[in-house]
């Protein structure tokens, strides 16, 4: 049985009323039924605003930083991937475990807005609601209902998600999800890229990254980008020119990829945010894959695990003679 908005509301209401939490970070319905907006509650009065449904894409973890200094404990709802970024925040002492209360929601996949509209050939205004029905979604339209296969309309990262259940939480709402049926090779995308010739690789990324408008949405939405002052915003030294050209865009995206190395939990927010549809996960997943292959490391699982680039093994691979 999947958790419902109603369940969630009662759970959070109780948390407010028994004084467990003073604030709660969740989702509310957005401009249309395929959008949600982050929603911040300071009490149970407006509990009705809270929703949980298969369009709750946003990773809310980063908002915990904004509530660092509020009195009392902050509640937050997290999916598997969101919870993994909470693990990373804890690892880097960005939040205090005792000051947050984590409501875990097992998640069996989030709707990719554009895919859904495409596949069903509809406009968002026609959609009333989307329900999780295991391997498919039940989409209620203004004129009747339709079922659609998850595999066709899930967000890409959900299609390879190995952590549908939050690794850290204080309470769990809804039953845990067993291994997701559609999950294939996490790295097929990366392998296909690796297989290209150097020339082809360059051509590919030049095409993609020349479209970047450097709005920094990928950085700002990233739950592990927590620097109070990012190096890209520094005046001295200037790591990157404000001029928007392919050369500088490459610098930006390479350094960005490196900065989330061993920290990225593939929540896919960067790619969702990117207005230019640049395949950022294709970069992140590469680093993720190397971290796994070289150092047998996966981010966002265990708070105690030391970040791979802050440690070493004497018998690490050495290809540099």
């Amino acid at each position: 049985m999947k958790a419902t908005s109603a369940e969630l509301q009662t759970r959070v209401k109780d948390l407010f009323e028994d004084g467990t939490i003073s604030h709660f970070i969740g989702y509310e319905t957005g401009s249309d039924s395929l959008r949600v907006a982050p929603c911040f509650l300071e009490g149970s009065q407006e509990i009705g605003r809270l929703v949980w449904n298969p369009v709750c894409a946003n990773n809310l973890a980063k908002y915990l930083l904004d509530f660092k200094n509020v009195p009392g404990r902050v509640g937050i709802m997290v999916k598997g991937c969101d919870s993994r970024s909470v693990v990373e925040l804890l690892k880097e002492n960005q939040i205090d475990r005792d000051r947050v209360f984590i409501v875990g929601v097992p998640c069996s996949g989030i709707v990719d807005r554009e895919k859904l509209l495409q596949v069903m050939g509809i406009s968002p205004t026609q959609v009333v609601a989307v329900q999780d029905e295991g391997d498919s979604f039940l989409v209620t339209l203004t004129d009747g209902e339709q079922r659609v296969d998850k595999e066709k309309v899930l967000r890409d990262e959900c299609l390879v998600c190995r952590y549908p259940n939050p690794p850290v939480y204080d309470v769990l709402t809804g039953e845990t999800v067993s291994r997701l049926p559609w999950v294939g090779d996490d790295y097929s995308m990366v392998k296909e890229q690796e297989a290209l010739s150097l020339e082809e690789k360059a051509t590919y990324w030049n095409r993609e990254l020349s479209q970047c408008i450097r709005c920094y949405a990928c950085r700002n939405i990233c739950p592990v980008c927590t620097c109070s002052e990012c190096i890209f915003d520094k005046k001295a030294p200037r790591w990157i020119s404000k001029a928007n050209d392919l050369s500088e865009n490459l610098v930006y995206h390479l350094i960005r990829a490196f900065h989330v190395a061993g920290r990225c939990v593939d929540c896919g927010e960067c790619e969702r945010a990117c207005p230019m549809n640049i395949p950022l996960r294709r970069l992140n997943k590469k680093v993720e894959k190397d971290m796994l292959e070289l150092f047998n490391y996966t981010a966002g699982i265990d708070v105690e695990q030391q970040p791979p680039l802050t440690t070493y093994r004497v018998d690490d691979l050495d290809e540099f003679m």
Binding site: E92, N93, T226, C227, E229, I231, H259
Partner: protein, 566 residues
């Protein structure tokens, strides 16, 4: 920061540089570089003349940065820094450019290209100099006491040496008695003396010394702090005692390998040289008709490639002794190569031969083989000279096995941040330049915990370590080169990455006390612990922690200069 006024001094170094690099051209080029207020050539910048010329220029052109392009900072940086200091300029406003070792000497046939390269290097140095900042060196007091870990011959020598110089010494020995492995020996080679004579005097001297406090049986439980201020706690016979010292000498010794070779441990008549000595010492050993000794047992093999250095002499000593005990008996010494360096060692070897010890060489690809039912009765060995395998009757087999590191080295190494090298022996800071110091300031090494050594060497190393340790103790104050890391609490997010990568636990998370940032958790660097490696600066995600003299701005300005960016 006042507008940089950089002075560039380009050294001819006689013809070393001037003979290849067109120095006047480089000087002219330097004059055109940003913030360069003065550039000149010197025949030898490090000469009296060059030095006074720098001082004059600082005065005359009101320079606030100095760049010298000559040889290598590894030899001359201290000189030029002090020149700046003498001229009233903070020594850290100096930047070194190497156009000799890294340019003229390696491009002798390419004058034009060498000149272009020299220009680039000067441009890079100037670009960095523009960002240099004055630095203050960290100073801290030295607590006038030392700890010596290990009460063997090396440790006792070190302890006595320190104490006799007037310093308190804590000597920590894990056994209930002092003396170490020496006490287990029968005789000392070349002088053929009973080690006890030697040891007992020293032990007495140590025991009666007013300034030496012996802890035993005791083991070091924890060490914190840094040179001049180590807090040590030891477990002394079950109770915890703690004390403060300024320096630490590691002289924990080594152990003898007990091999699983040639029937050792299975048959009663197979011993190590050490076992043999103990038996001889206690007079438990009868006469033997056929004694076979095998050297390099478990040494100089792939998994233990080093030579244990003392075994050859030990074996020769005992071979001769066996011959002495039973002149009719036969003594065979099977060896791979003999280490009998120096005058008296070589003589000692000859004497053993004279005495009738038979030396037979074997090789790694044809190891001796033992045979026999209960005990080893014969040893087969391939004799190179006769080009055939010969069988030696054997009623006593003695194996010369190597010294191997103590099992607790790793633990001690973690506590003291003193590195260990291949195989687990301790590793000094520099094999030639700093042979008895660790990279970790205030910690020194002596004796066989470093490497197999004989008594003489162990004593010498003990003295050496003691006198090295004495330098800071005497100075009473230690200065740390100001290339240490520093945190900007404004942008530090307290993620702790620096604390994870720091090999010296110099960086730690603390509540900030600066006005406006009270209570913010940020990283803080203990300058006394910081060794100035810059690992933290490279690992910090947003440059909140920087290494003085190697900041991001300074390094990037060099990279940009090289790329033709300004």
């Amino acid at each position: 920061m006042a507008t940089p006024r950089i002075g560039a001094f380009i050294c001819h170094c006689g013809t070393n540089i001037g003979g290849i690099v067109n120095v006047p051209e480089v000087v002219e080029y330097a004059k055109g570089l940003p913030y360069v207020a003065h550039a000149e050539a010197n025949l030898y910048t490090c000469s009296e003349e060059g030095i006074s010329s720098i001082k004059r220029a600082i005065e005359q052109y009101d320079l606030n940065r100095v760049v010298v392009a000559s040889c290598t900072p590894r030899t001359h940086q201290p000189l030029f820094r002090s020149v700046c200091a003498d001229a009233g300029l903070n020594p850290y406003l100096f930047e070194f450019v190497n156009i000799r070792e890294h340019c003229s000497w390696i491009h002798r046939e390419h004058h034009q290209e060498a000149t272009e390269k020299a220009k680039d290097l000067v441009k890079m140095g100037v670009a960095k100099a523009r960002w240099l900042e004055a630095q203050q060196e960290f100073e801290s007091d030295i607590y006038p006491a030392g700890m010596v870990i290990g009460g063997g011959i090396a440790g006792m020598s070190a302890a006595l040496n320190l104490a006799n110089q007037g310093f308190e010494v804590h000597l920590v020995e894990k056994e209930p008695g002092l003396g170490g492995r020496l006490l287990r020996l029968n005789r000392i080679f070349t002088i053929d003396k009973d080690p006890r004579e030697l040891v007992e005097n020293i032990v007495k001297a140590v025991g009666n010394h007013p300034r030496i406090r012996v802890h035993m049986p005791a083991s070091v439980k924890a060490v914190s702090g840094y040179i001049g201020n180590f807090d040590v706690s030891v477990d002394e016979d079950g109770q915890e005692t703690s004390f403060k010292v300024g320096v630490i000498i590691v002289a924990t010794g080594a152990q003898v390998l007990k091999p699983e070779l040639y029937g050792y441990g299975e048959s009663a008549n197979v011993l190590t040289q050490l076992d043999l000595e103990e038996k001889l010492k206690d007079g438990e050993l009868g006469k033997f008709q056929n004694v076979v000794m095998i050297n390099c047992a478990g040494a100089r093999i792939p998994e233990r490639p080093y030579c244990s250095r003392v075994c050859c002499m030990t074996a020769i000593k005992n071979a001769a002794l066996m011959k002495e005990i039973n002149p009719e008996g036969k003594v065979y010494l099977l060896y791979r190569d003999l280490m009998t360096y120096g005058v008296e060692f070589e003589q000692y070897y000859r004497d053993a031969k004279e005495a009738g010890v038979r030396f037979i060489r074997y090789t790694l690809d044809a190891l001796p083989r033992v045979s026999g039912t209960e005990s080893v009765e014969a040893v087969k060995v391939y004799d190179e000279l006769m080009d055939m395998e010969i069988e030696l009757p054997c009623d006593l087999l003695v194996l010369a096995t190597p010294l191997i590191p103590n099992d607790d080295n790793e633990e001690l190494s973690r506590m003291l941040k003193a590195s260990t090298g291949d195989g687990g022996f301790f590793l000094e800071a520099h094999v030639k330049l700093r042979p008895v110091e660790f990279a970790m300031d205030g910690v020194y090494v002596a004796g066989t915990c470093r490497w197999p050594a004989d008594i003489r060497e162990s004593i010498a190393q003990g003295y050496a370590a003691a006198s090295e340790a004495m330098i800071p103790l005497r100075q009473g104050l230690v200065k740390v080169e100001a290339i240490t890391a520093v945190v900007d609490p404004r942008i530090c997010k307290g993620c702790g990455t620096c604390t994870l990568v720091c090999p010296f636990e110099a960086a730690g998370l603390k509540e900030c006390e600066i006005r406006g940032l009270e209570g913010k958790i940020v990283s803080e660097v203990n300058a006394a612990l910081c060794k100035g490696c810059g690992l933290c600066a490279a690992a910090c995600p947003n440059g909140a922690i920087q290494q003085r003299g190697f900041t991001d701005v300074e390094l990037m300005s060099m990279v940009n200069a090289m790329s033709g960016k300004r």
